[in-house]
Subunit: 198 residues, 2 copies
C-alpha cells in the first residue's frame, strides 16, 4: 500500500513495540485514526511525559518519578529483607500480592551469555553495596524460573552465601487452582518433594 | 503501586488500545521507559501526524492522506468492479494478495443489531450512489465470514440483486497448506460441496 506514508510510518514505529507484529501494528494504527484527536494528543503527551519524568531509583532500580522511589523512601518497609527481581514490572507483580513487606532490588536483566549479558551488565555491584552496612539479613532471589533466571539466581546465591546472609527463593509448586493433570511433571515432582504438613 | 502517577497514566491510556490489557500496557510502558528519548519523540509525533493528516477517502472510505485515495485516483484500476469490505485494514489484506484489480468500498463496520449498528450507520448509501451511473458491473462482497459479516453480505446482496448487478463473495474452502484433520467440519463441508474440477 503506497497510499499513506504517515500511516505506514506509524505502523513501522508501532511494530518496534514488544509483542507487536506488523498486523497488530496496523490494527493499532487504524484504531488511532478512528479515535478523537484529544485522546491521541493525551497519549502522545503521556508517552513523552513518561520518557522525560520517569527515571530509575538510584537505590533499587525501580521506575519512579522521585528518587529514591516510594518503596525505598517508606520507613515502614522492612529494610532487613531485599527481594531481587529481573525487571521493574516484577516489583509490581510482587507488590500486587501484598505478601511482601521488604525492599527490592531490580537487576534490569538476567545473566545470558548468548546475549552477551554477564553479571557486570546487571545491577549486582549496587546490590552488594546495599549489603555492606549489615542491615540486610535476607535476600529473596525472585528472578524468573527460566534458564536465565535460574542461572542468575545460582550466581547470586554463591556471592551471597559468602556474606553470611540468608538467601531464599520463592517456592516451586502447584499453582492455586492447578489441576495436577495439567501441571508439568517437573513442577509436580518438585511440589511433592517439598511437601508440607497439612 | 503509587510510585509513579505519570507511569500509571500511560498504562491507563495504553490499556484503551484494542487487544491491550493492563498487563500488556504495563509491559509496553516499561519498554517506553527504556527506549531512547528520540524514538519516543518520533512515536509521539507520528501518532499526532497520523491523527491530523489521515482522513477517509470521500469515494471509497479507505484511510488516505490525499482525497481521493491512491486506488480511487488510479486510472489503471478496473472501475467495473467494486469490492466491499468492513474495515480499512481489509483493503490492505486484499491488496497484499495482488489478486484483485478493481476498486473498493469500505463500510466502516458490519450490521450488528445488538451493538445498535444498522445499515444506516454503514457507508451503504454512498455505495448505492457509486452504482448509479452504470459503470459498475460486479460487486464483490468481502465482508468477514462471521455472523455480522454474513448478515451484512445478505443485506447487501438483496439490495444489489434488485439493481441487476453481478454480486459475488470470496470462496469458502480449505486454506492453502490446510490439513483436513484440523479444518473445522463446516468449512470442509462447504469446500466439498463447492468442489472444482482438477
Amino acid at each position: 500500500m503506497k497510499t499513506a506514508p504517515t500511516f505506514d510510518k506509524l505502523v513501522d514505529e508501532l511494530s518496534r513495540l514488544p509483542g507487536v507484529g506488523p498486523r497488530t501494528a496496523a490494527r493499532l494504527a487504524f484504531f488511532i485514526v478512528k479515535q478523537p484527536e484529544a485522546w491521541v494528543e493525551t497519549l502522545a503527551k503521556t508517552l513523552l511525559d513518561v520518557k522525560r519524568k520517569i527515571r530509575f531509583c538510584s537505590i533499587c532500580g525501580q521506575t519512579t518519578e522521585e528518587d529514591p522511589c516510594a518503596i525505598c523512601a517508606d520507613p515502614r518497609r522492612d529494610s532487613r529483607v531485599i527481594c531481587v527481581v529481573e525487571e521493574p514490572q516484577d516489583v509490581i507483580t510482587i507488590e500486587r500480592t501484598h505478601a511482601y513487606h521488604g525492599r527490592y532490588h531490580v537487576l534490569h536483566g538476567a545473566i545470558s551469555p548468548l546475549d552477551g549479558i554477564g553479571p557486570e551488565q546487571l545491577r549486582i555491584e549496587s546490590l552488594m553495596k546495599r549489603l555492606e552496612d549489615g542491615t540486610v539479613q535476607e535476600v529473596v532471589i525472585a528472578t524468573n524460573f527460566t534458564t536465565k533466571g535460574e542461572t542468575t539466581a545460582l550466581y547470586l546465591a554463591r556471592l551471597l552465601h559468602a556474606k553470611n546472609i540468608r538467601v531464599t527463593r520463592p517456592a516451586h509448586g502447584i499453582p492455586l487452582g492447578g489441576n495436577l493433570e495439567y501441571v508439568d511433571e517437573n513442577t509436580v515432582g518438585q511440589a511433592v518433594a517439598a511437601r508440607q504438613s497439612f
